[in-house]
Symmetry: C2
Subunit: 238 residues, 2 copies
Protein backbone atom coordinates (compact mmCIF):
# COMPACT_ATOMS: atom_id res chain seq x y z
CA UNK A 1 0.00 0.00 0.00
CA UNK A 2 1.64 3.22 -1.07
CA UNK A 3 1.22 6.94 -0.64
CA UNK A 4 -0.42 7.17 2.78
CA UNK A 5 -1.66 10.65 3.74
CA UNK A 6 0.38 12.93 6.00
CA UNK A 7 -1.47 13.78 9.23
CA UNK A 8 -1.20 17.43 10.33
CA UNK A 9 -2.45 18.47 13.78
CA UNK A 10 -2.96 22.22 14.23
CA UNK A 11 -2.31 23.57 17.76
CA UNK A 12 -2.91 20.25 19.54
CA UNK A 13 -3.23 20.73 23.30
CA UNK A 14 -2.87 17.32 24.99
CA UNK A 15 0.29 15.25 24.56
CA UNK A 16 -1.87 12.16 25.23
CA UNK A 17 -3.92 12.92 22.13
CA UNK A 18 -0.81 13.38 19.97
CA UNK A 19 0.57 10.05 21.22
CA UNK A 20 -2.75 8.23 20.78
CA UNK A 21 -3.00 9.65 17.25
CA UNK A 22 0.53 8.43 16.45
CA UNK A 23 -0.29 4.96 17.76
CA UNK A 24 -3.47 4.53 15.73
CA UNK A 25 -1.80 6.04 12.64
CA UNK A 26 0.80 3.26 12.71
CA UNK A 27 -1.96 0.65 13.31
CA UNK A 28 -3.29 1.70 9.91
CA UNK A 29 0.07 2.12 8.16
CA UNK A 30 0.15 5.94 8.27
CA UNK A 31 3.59 7.10 9.41
CA UNK A 32 4.05 10.82 8.77
CA UNK A 33 2.84 13.18 11.50
CA UNK A 34 3.37 16.95 11.44
CA UNK A 35 2.40 19.47 14.11
CA UNK A 36 1.63 23.15 13.85
CA UNK A 37 2.33 25.06 17.06
CA UNK A 38 1.63 22.36 19.68
CA UNK A 39 0.54 24.05 22.94
CA UNK A 40 3.07 22.32 25.21
CA UNK A 41 6.07 22.44 22.86
CA UNK A 42 7.94 19.52 21.37
CA UNK A 43 9.14 16.87 22.18
CA UNK A 44 6.37 15.96 24.61
CA UNK A 45 6.84 13.18 27.19
CA UNK A 46 3.11 12.34 27.43
CA UNK A 47 2.98 11.91 23.65
CA UNK A 48 5.92 9.51 23.78
CA UNK A 49 4.29 7.43 26.56
CA UNK A 50 0.88 7.25 24.90
CA UNK A 51 2.30 6.33 21.50
CA UNK A 52 3.53 3.00 22.95
CA UNK A 53 5.20 1.02 20.17
CA UNK A 54 4.51 3.79 17.65
CA UNK A 55 7.26 5.94 19.16
CA UNK A 56 8.99 5.93 15.74
CA UNK A 57 6.13 8.11 14.45
CA UNK A 58 6.69 10.56 17.32
CA UNK A 59 10.46 10.62 16.76
CA UNK A 60 9.96 11.54 13.10
CA UNK A 61 7.33 14.22 13.80
CA UNK A 62 8.23 17.69 12.53
CA UNK A 63 6.90 20.96 13.96
CA UNK A 64 5.96 24.02 11.87
CA UNK A 65 4.69 27.52 12.71
CA UNK A 66 1.79 27.55 10.20
CA UNK A 67 -0.27 25.12 8.10
CA UNK A 68 1.05 26.69 4.90
CA UNK A 69 4.60 25.79 6.01
CA UNK A 70 3.62 22.32 7.27
CA UNK A 71 2.03 21.59 3.89
CA UNK A 72 5.07 22.74 1.86
CA UNK A 73 5.21 19.54 -0.23
CA UNK A 74 1.51 18.61 -0.13
CA UNK A 75 -0.72 18.82 -3.22
CA UNK A 76 -4.09 17.99 -1.66
CA UNK A 77 -5.32 19.10 1.76
CA UNK A 78 -8.40 17.60 3.40
CA UNK A 79 -9.65 19.56 6.42
CA UNK A 80 -11.67 17.73 9.06
CA UNK A 81 -14.42 19.83 10.55
CA UNK A 82 -17.86 19.18 11.97
CA UNK A 83 -19.31 22.66 11.60
CA UNK A 84 -20.50 23.98 8.23
CA UNK A 85 -18.58 27.14 7.34
CA UNK A 86 -19.91 29.93 5.21
CA UNK A 87 -17.48 28.93 2.49
CA UNK A 88 -17.83 27.23 -0.90
CA UNK A 89 -16.17 23.83 -0.41
CA UNK A 90 -16.75 20.26 -1.39
CA UNK A 91 -17.64 18.17 1.69
CA UNK A 92 -16.52 14.53 1.73
CA UNK A 93 -17.36 11.65 4.02
CA UNK A 94 -14.24 9.95 5.47
CA UNK A 95 -14.78 7.03 3.07
CA UNK A 96 -14.91 9.30 0.02
CA UNK A 97 -11.82 11.15 1.26
CA UNK A 98 -9.98 7.83 1.60
CA UNK A 99 -10.89 6.88 -1.97
CA UNK A 100 -9.74 10.26 -3.26
CA UNK A 101 -6.37 9.87 -1.51
CA UNK A 102 -5.96 6.32 -2.77
CA UNK A 103 -6.76 7.33 -6.35
CA UNK A 104 -4.07 9.99 -6.63
CA UNK A 105 -0.30 9.70 -6.80
CA UNK A 106 0.04 13.22 -5.41
CA UNK A 107 0.92 13.78 -1.78
CA UNK A 108 -2.15 14.31 0.41
CA UNK A 109 -2.56 15.59 3.96
CA UNK A 110 -5.48 15.31 6.37
CA UNK A 111 -5.60 18.25 8.77
CA UNK A 112 -7.16 18.29 12.26
CA UNK A 113 -7.81 21.33 14.48
CA UNK A 114 -7.24 21.82 18.22
CA UNK A 115 -9.27 19.80 20.74
CA UNK A 116 -11.62 22.61 21.80
CA UNK A 117 -11.77 25.00 18.89
CA UNK A 118 -11.24 22.92 15.74
CA UNK A 119 -9.81 24.43 12.56
CA UNK A 120 -9.86 28.16 11.84
CA UNK A 121 -11.41 29.45 8.63
CA UNK A 122 -7.91 30.65 7.63
CA UNK A 123 -6.70 27.03 7.71
CA UNK A 124 -9.81 25.60 6.05
CA UNK A 125 -9.49 27.96 3.09
CA UNK A 126 -6.26 26.13 2.10
CA UNK A 127 -8.11 22.81 1.90
CA UNK A 128 -9.24 21.20 -1.35
CA UNK A 129 -12.16 19.62 0.49
CA UNK A 130 -13.72 19.44 3.92
CA UNK A 131 -14.13 16.02 5.55
CA UNK A 132 -16.95 15.59 8.05
CA UNK A 133 -17.16 12.44 10.19
CA UNK A 134 -20.82 11.50 10.54
CA UNK A 135 -21.79 11.48 14.24
CA UNK A 136 -24.97 11.08 16.28
CA UNK A 137 -26.68 14.37 17.18
CA UNK A 138 -26.79 13.31 20.87
CA UNK A 139 -23.02 13.89 21.30
CA UNK A 140 -21.08 15.30 18.37
CA UNK A 141 -17.73 16.07 20.03
CA UNK A 142 -15.20 13.43 18.91
CA UNK A 143 -11.89 13.00 20.70
CA UNK A 144 -8.98 14.18 18.50
CA UNK A 145 -7.22 10.80 18.37
CA UNK A 146 -10.54 9.08 17.58
CA UNK A 147 -11.04 11.43 14.63
CA UNK A 148 -7.50 10.66 13.39
CA UNK A 149 -8.32 6.97 13.83
CA UNK A 150 -11.46 7.07 11.68
CA UNK A 151 -9.66 8.79 8.79
CA UNK A 152 -6.63 6.47 8.94
CA UNK A 153 -8.88 3.41 9.26
CA UNK A 154 -10.86 4.47 6.20
CA UNK A 155 -7.66 5.05 4.23
CA UNK A 156 -6.31 1.62 5.18
CA UNK A 157 -9.54 -0.26 4.48
CA UNK A 158 -9.98 1.52 1.12
CA UNK A 159 -6.87 -0.34 -0.02
CA UNK A 160 -7.50 -3.54 1.96
CA UNK A 161 -8.59 -6.71 0.18
CA UNK A 162 -9.83 -8.75 3.17
CA UNK A 163 -13.08 -10.49 2.13
CA UNK A 164 -16.06 -9.10 4.11
CA UNK A 165 -16.98 -12.60 5.27
CA UNK A 166 -14.76 -15.64 5.49
CA UNK A 167 -15.22 -19.04 7.14
CA UNK A 168 -12.19 -19.90 9.23
CA UNK A 169 -12.22 -23.73 9.50
CA UNK A 170 -9.06 -23.99 11.60
CA UNK A 171 -6.90 -26.96 10.71
CA UNK A 172 -9.78 -29.19 9.51
CA UNK A 173 -11.66 -28.84 6.23
CA UNK A 174 -15.44 -28.81 6.07
CA UNK A 175 -17.06 -32.26 5.99
CA UNK A 176 -18.14 -33.56 2.59
CA UNK A 177 -21.85 -34.09 1.99
CA UNK A 178 -21.38 -37.88 1.91
CA UNK A 179 -19.83 -37.80 5.40
CA UNK A 180 -22.74 -35.66 6.59
CA UNK A 181 -25.38 -37.95 5.05
CA UNK A 182 -23.76 -40.99 6.60
CA UNK A 183 -23.79 -39.26 10.01
CA UNK A 184 -27.46 -38.31 9.56
CA UNK A 185 -28.38 -41.93 8.73
CA UNK A 186 -26.47 -43.15 11.79
CA UNK A 187 -28.32 -40.68 14.02
CA UNK A 188 -31.73 -41.43 12.50
CA UNK A 189 -31.26 -45.21 12.87
CA UNK A 190 -30.49 -44.78 16.54
CA UNK A 191 -33.46 -42.40 16.96
CA UNK A 192 -35.71 -44.99 15.28
CA UNK A 193 -34.41 -47.70 17.64
CA UNK A 194 -34.97 -45.52 20.69
CA UNK A 195 -38.56 -44.69 19.70
CA UNK A 196 -37.88 -40.95 19.27
CA UNK A 197 -40.35 -40.63 16.35
CA UNK A 198 -43.58 -41.34 18.20
CA UNK A 199 -45.87 -40.17 15.36
CA UNK A 200 -44.62 -41.66 12.08
CA UNK A 201 -46.44 -39.02 9.96
CA UNK A 202 -44.24 -36.38 11.54
CA UNK A 203 -40.99 -38.28 10.97
CA UNK A 204 -40.03 -36.74 7.57
CA UNK A 205 -40.47 -33.17 8.83
CA UNK A 206 -38.59 -33.84 12.08
CA UNK A 207 -35.72 -35.48 10.17
CA UNK A 208 -35.50 -32.43 7.92
CA UNK A 209 -35.39 -30.07 10.92
CA UNK A 210 -32.69 -32.10 12.69
CA UNK A 211 -30.57 -32.39 9.52
CA UNK A 212 -30.95 -28.65 8.97
CA UNK A 213 -29.57 -27.86 12.44
CA UNK A 214 -26.33 -29.69 11.59
CA UNK A 215 -26.11 -28.28 8.07
CA UNK A 216 -26.39 -24.73 9.47
CA UNK A 217 -23.60 -25.53 11.92
CA UNK A 218 -21.16 -26.04 9.02
CA UNK A 219 -19.47 -29.16 10.43
CA UNK A 220 -15.84 -30.07 9.76
CA UNK A 221 -14.64 -33.65 9.24
CA UNK A 222 -13.53 -33.61 12.88
CA UNK A 223 -16.96 -32.36 14.02
CA UNK A 224 -18.62 -35.29 12.18
CA UNK A 225 -16.34 -37.75 13.99
CA UNK A 226 -17.18 -36.03 17.30
CA UNK A 227 -20.95 -36.21 16.72
CA UNK A 228 -20.73 -39.87 15.66
CA UNK A 229 -18.77 -40.66 18.86
CA UNK A 230 -21.36 -38.73 20.87
CA UNK A 231 -24.23 -40.77 19.35
CA UNK A 232 -22.37 -44.04 20.06
CA UNK A 233 -21.71 -42.99 23.64
CA UNK A 234 -25.31 -41.95 24.30
CA UNK A 235 -26.73 -45.20 22.88
CA UNK A 236 -24.23 -47.42 24.71
CA UNK A 237 -25.67 -46.44 28.10
CA UNK A 238 -29.06 -48.00 27.37
CA UNK B 1 -31.70 4.66 13.68
CA UNK B 2 -32.84 1.75 15.82
CA UNK B 3 -31.41 -1.35 17.44
CA UNK B 4 -27.80 -0.30 18.11
CA UNK B 5 -25.52 -3.11 19.34
CA UNK B 6 -24.74 -3.56 23.02
CA UNK B 7 -21.01 -3.18 23.76
CA UNK B 8 -19.57 -5.74 26.21
CA UNK B 9 -16.03 -5.30 27.57
CA UNK B 10 -14.53 -8.41 29.18
CA UNK B 11 -12.13 -7.80 32.08
CA UNK B 12 -11.19 -4.26 31.03
CA UNK B 13 -8.15 -2.98 32.95
CA UNK B 14 -7.93 0.80 32.48
CA UNK B 15 -10.77 3.08 33.58
CA UNK B 16 -9.57 5.55 30.93
CA UNK B 17 -10.27 3.00 28.22
CA UNK B 18 -13.77 2.29 29.55
CA UNK B 19 -14.51 6.03 29.64
CA UNK B 20 -13.06 6.65 26.17
CA UNK B 21 -15.12 3.74 24.84
CA UNK B 22 -18.30 5.19 26.40
CA UNK B 23 -17.57 8.60 24.87
CA UNK B 24 -17.05 7.31 21.35
CA UNK B 25 -20.04 4.96 21.67
CA UNK B 26 -22.31 7.94 22.27
CA UNK B 27 -20.66 9.83 19.38
CA UNK B 28 -22.01 7.07 17.16
CA UNK B 29 -25.37 6.64 18.89
CA UNK B 30 -24.50 3.44 20.78
CA UNK B 31 -25.68 3.73 24.38
CA UNK B 32 -25.61 0.34 26.13
CA UNK B 33 -22.32 -0.66 27.75
CA UNK B 34 -21.88 -3.81 29.86
CA UNK B 35 -18.76 -4.92 31.70
CA UNK B 36 -17.62 -8.38 32.71
CA UNK B 37 -15.35 -8.38 35.78
CA UNK B 38 -13.61 -4.98 35.36
CA UNK B 39 -10.15 -5.15 37.02
CA UNK B 40 -10.56 -2.06 39.21
CA UNK B 41 -14.21 -2.61 40.22
CA UNK B 42 -17.15 -0.37 39.45
CA UNK B 43 -17.94 2.54 39.50
CA UNK B 44 -14.57 3.83 38.31
CA UNK B 45 -13.65 7.52 38.69
CA UNK B 46 -11.21 7.52 35.73
CA UNK B 47 -13.93 6.09 33.49
CA UNK B 48 -16.32 8.88 34.56
CA UNK B 49 -13.69 11.58 33.86
CA UNK B 50 -12.68 10.22 30.45
CA UNK B 51 -16.28 9.72 29.30
CA UNK B 52 -16.78 13.53 29.37
CA UNK B 53 -20.34 14.31 28.23
CA UNK B 54 -21.08 10.60 27.74
CA UNK B 55 -21.31 10.09 31.50
CA UNK B 56 -24.91 8.87 30.99
CA UNK B 57 -23.48 5.78 29.26
CA UNK B 58 -21.24 5.13 32.30
CA UNK B 59 -24.11 5.67 34.74
CA UNK B 60 -26.22 3.05 32.94
CA UNK B 61 -23.37 0.51 32.66
CA UNK B 62 -24.13 -2.86 34.26
CA UNK B 63 -21.49 -5.29 35.57
CA UNK B 64 -21.71 -9.09 35.24
CA UNK B 65 -19.48 -11.98 36.38
CA UNK B 66 -19.39 -13.80 33.00
CA UNK B 67 -20.08 -13.16 29.31
CA UNK B 68 -22.91 -15.71 29.35
CA UNK B 69 -24.65 -13.65 32.05
CA UNK B 70 -23.86 -10.29 30.40
CA UNK B 71 -25.42 -11.58 27.17
CA UNK B 72 -28.62 -12.86 28.87
CA UNK B 73 -30.94 -11.04 26.42
CA UNK B 74 -28.63 -11.03 23.35
CA UNK B 75 -29.36 -13.14 20.24
CA UNK B 76 -26.20 -12.43 18.24
CA UNK B 77 -22.68 -12.08 19.62
CA UNK B 78 -19.80 -10.70 17.54
CA UNK B 79 -16.38 -11.25 19.12
CA UNK B 80 -13.55 -8.89 18.15
CA UNK B 81 -10.18 -10.60 17.91
CA UNK B 82 -7.05 -10.17 15.87
CA UNK B 83 -5.61 -13.65 16.27
CA UNK B 84 -6.96 -16.62 14.31
CA UNK B 85 -8.18 -19.30 16.70
CA UNK B 86 -8.21 -22.97 15.94
CA UNK B 87 -11.98 -22.83 15.82
CA UNK B 88 -14.58 -23.01 13.04
CA UNK B 89 -16.07 -19.53 12.91
CA UNK B 90 -17.18 -17.05 10.32
CA UNK B 91 -14.85 -14.03 10.28
CA UNK B 92 -16.37 -10.65 9.42
CA UNK B 93 -14.80 -7.31 8.62
CA UNK B 94 -16.16 -4.49 10.83
CA UNK B 95 -18.19 -3.24 7.85
CA UNK B 96 -19.80 -6.63 7.25
CA UNK B 97 -20.54 -6.95 10.98
CA UNK B 98 -22.24 -3.53 10.93
CA UNK B 99 -24.41 -4.59 7.99
CA UNK B 100 -25.35 -7.83 9.74
CA UNK B 101 -26.38 -5.93 12.89
CA UNK B 102 -28.38 -3.39 10.88
CA UNK B 103 -30.19 -6.10 8.93
CA UNK B 104 -31.57 -7.92 11.96
CA UNK B 105 -34.23 -6.90 14.45
CA UNK B 106 -32.68 -9.20 17.08
CA UNK B 107 -30.51 -7.78 19.83
CA UNK B 108 -26.78 -7.91 18.99
CA UNK B 109 -23.68 -7.44 21.10
CA UNK B 110 -20.09 -6.72 20.11
CA UNK B 111 -17.62 -8.14 22.62
CA UNK B 112 -14.07 -6.90 23.32
CA UNK B 113 -11.36 -8.61 25.40
CA UNK B 114 -8.95 -7.17 27.95
CA UNK B 115 -6.24 -4.73 26.86
CA UNK B 116 -3.31 -7.16 27.03
CA UNK B 117 -4.79 -10.59 26.52
CA UNK B 118 -7.86 -10.15 24.32
CA UNK B 119 -10.76 -12.61 24.42
CA UNK B 120 -10.42 -16.16 25.74
CA UNK B 121 -11.43 -19.10 23.58
CA UNK B 122 -14.19 -19.79 26.15
CA UNK B 123 -15.74 -16.40 25.39
CA UNK B 124 -15.20 -16.63 21.63
CA UNK B 125 -17.02 -19.95 21.41
CA UNK B 126 -20.26 -18.14 22.38
CA UNK B 127 -19.93 -15.79 19.41
CA UNK B 128 -21.88 -16.19 16.17
CA UNK B 129 -18.99 -14.62 14.29
CA UNK B 130 -15.53 -13.21 14.84
CA UNK B 131 -14.83 -9.62 13.78
CA UNK B 132 -11.28 -8.72 12.83
CA UNK B 133 -10.31 -5.07 12.32
CA UNK B 134 -7.85 -4.90 9.41
CA UNK B 135 -4.55 -3.38 10.61
CA UNK B 136 -1.09 -2.81 9.17
CA UNK B 137 1.43 -5.58 9.94
CA UNK B 138 3.92 -2.99 11.25
CA UNK B 139 1.87 -2.45 14.47
CA UNK B 140 -1.20 -4.58 15.03
CA UNK B 141 -2.03 -3.73 18.66
CA UNK B 142 -5.08 -1.44 18.65
CA UNK B 143 -6.06 0.51 21.77
CA UNK B 144 -9.30 -0.88 23.27
CA UNK B 145 -11.30 2.35 22.91
CA UNK B 146 -10.06 2.72 19.31
CA UNK B 147 -11.34 -0.78 18.54
CA UNK B 148 -14.73 0.08 20.08
CA UNK B 149 -14.70 3.27 18.01
CA UNK B 150 -14.15 1.48 14.69
CA UNK B 151 -17.03 -0.94 15.29
CA UNK B 152 -19.44 1.79 16.49
CA UNK B 153 -18.42 4.06 13.59
CA UNK B 154 -19.09 1.29 11.08
CA UNK B 155 -22.48 0.59 12.66
CA UNK B 156 -23.42 4.27 12.53
CA UNK B 157 -22.25 4.84 8.95
CA UNK B 158 -23.97 1.65 7.74
CA UNK B 159 -27.26 3.40 8.53
CA UNK B 160 -26.13 6.92 7.61
CA UNK B 161 -27.41 8.57 4.44
CA UNK B 162 -24.88 11.43 4.13
CA UNK B 163 -23.89 11.72 0.45
CA UNK B 164 -20.19 10.79 -0.05
CA UNK B 165 -19.53 14.13 -1.74
CA UNK B 166 -21.52 17.32 -1.45
CA UNK B 167 -20.79 20.90 -2.51
CA UNK B 168 -21.46 23.31 0.33
CA UNK B 169 -22.09 26.68 -1.35
CA UNK B 170 -22.70 28.58 1.88
CA UNK B 171 -25.39 31.26 1.55
CA UNK B 172 -24.85 31.94 -2.18
CA UNK B 173 -25.90 29.67 -5.04
CA UNK B 174 -23.53 28.72 -7.85
CA UNK B 175 -23.27 31.25 -10.68
CA UNK B 176 -25.31 30.52 -13.81
CA UNK B 177 -23.43 29.83 -17.04
CA UNK B 178 -24.64 33.15 -18.52
CA UNK B 179 -23.11 35.06 -15.59
CA UNK B 180 -19.85 33.13 -16.07
CA UNK B 181 -19.75 33.75 -19.83
CA UNK B 182 -20.39 37.45 -19.31
CA UNK B 183 -17.51 37.56 -16.78
CA UNK B 184 -15.21 35.70 -19.21
CA UNK B 185 -16.01 38.18 -22.00
CA UNK B 186 -15.34 41.10 -19.67
CA UNK B 187 -11.95 39.60 -18.68
CA UNK B 188 -10.98 38.74 -22.27
CA UNK B 189 -11.87 42.26 -23.54
CA UNK B 190 -9.61 43.76 -20.91
CA UNK B 191 -6.84 41.28 -21.70
CA UNK B 192 -7.16 42.20 -25.42
CA UNK B 193 -6.90 45.91 -24.56
CA UNK B 194 -3.85 45.34 -22.37
CA UNK B 195 -2.03 43.34 -25.07
CA UNK B 196 -1.97 40.10 -23.03
CA UNK B 197 -2.39 37.90 -26.14
CA UNK B 198 0.91 38.63 -27.84
CA UNK B 199 0.61 35.80 -30.38
CA UNK B 200 -2.90 35.82 -31.84
CA UNK B 201 -2.65 32.16 -32.97
CA UNK B 202 -2.35 31.14 -29.36
CA UNK B 203 -5.33 33.23 -28.19
CA UNK B 204 -8.06 30.53 -28.51
CA UNK B 205 -6.07 27.99 -26.49
CA UNK B 206 -5.11 30.53 -23.82
CA UNK B 207 -8.73 31.67 -23.51
CA UNK B 208 -9.82 28.07 -23.05
CA UNK B 209 -7.21 27.50 -20.32
CA UNK B 210 -8.15 30.68 -18.44
CA UNK B 211 -11.90 29.91 -18.68
CA UNK B 212 -11.21 26.39 -17.44
CA UNK B 213 -9.45 27.66 -14.29
CA UNK B 214 -12.57 29.57 -13.29
CA UNK B 215 -14.96 26.75 -14.25
CA UNK B 216 -12.99 24.32 -12.07
CA UNK B 217 -13.23 26.78 -9.17
CA UNK B 218 -17.03 26.40 -9.13
CA UNK B 219 -17.82 30.12 -8.68
CA UNK B 220 -20.88 31.42 -6.83
CA UNK B 221 -22.83 34.51 -7.95
CA UNK B 222 -20.94 36.45 -5.28
CA UNK B 223 -17.59 35.11 -6.56
CA UNK B 224 -18.46 36.38 -10.08
CA UNK B 225 -19.19 39.86 -8.68
CA UNK B 226 -15.88 39.74 -6.77
CA UNK B 227 -13.87 38.76 -9.87
CA UNK B 228 -15.58 41.45 -11.99
CA UNK B 229 -14.74 44.04 -9.33
CA UNK B 230 -11.16 42.77 -9.26
CA UNK B 231 -10.81 43.14 -13.07
CA UNK B 232 -12.24 46.68 -12.91
CA UNK B 233 -9.86 47.63 -10.12
CA UNK B 234 -6.80 46.23 -11.89
CA UNK B 235 -7.63 47.99 -15.18
CA UNK B 236 -8.44 51.34 -13.51
CA UNK B 237 -4.84 51.81 -12.40
CA UNK B 238 -3.51 52.04 -15.95
Amino acid sequence: MNNPPTIILISPQMGENIGAAARVMLNFGVTELRLVAPRDGWPNQKAIETARNAVQVIENTKVFPTLAEAAFDISRIYATTARPRDMVKTVYTPRKCAEAILQTTEKSAIVFGAEQSGLSNEDIVLADAIVTIPVAPIYTSLNLAQAVSILCYEWFTAGDTTPPENLDTGKYGLASKIELTSMFEHLEQELDKSGFFKVLDKRPNMVRNIRNIFVRAGLTEQDVRTIRGLIKSLTKTK
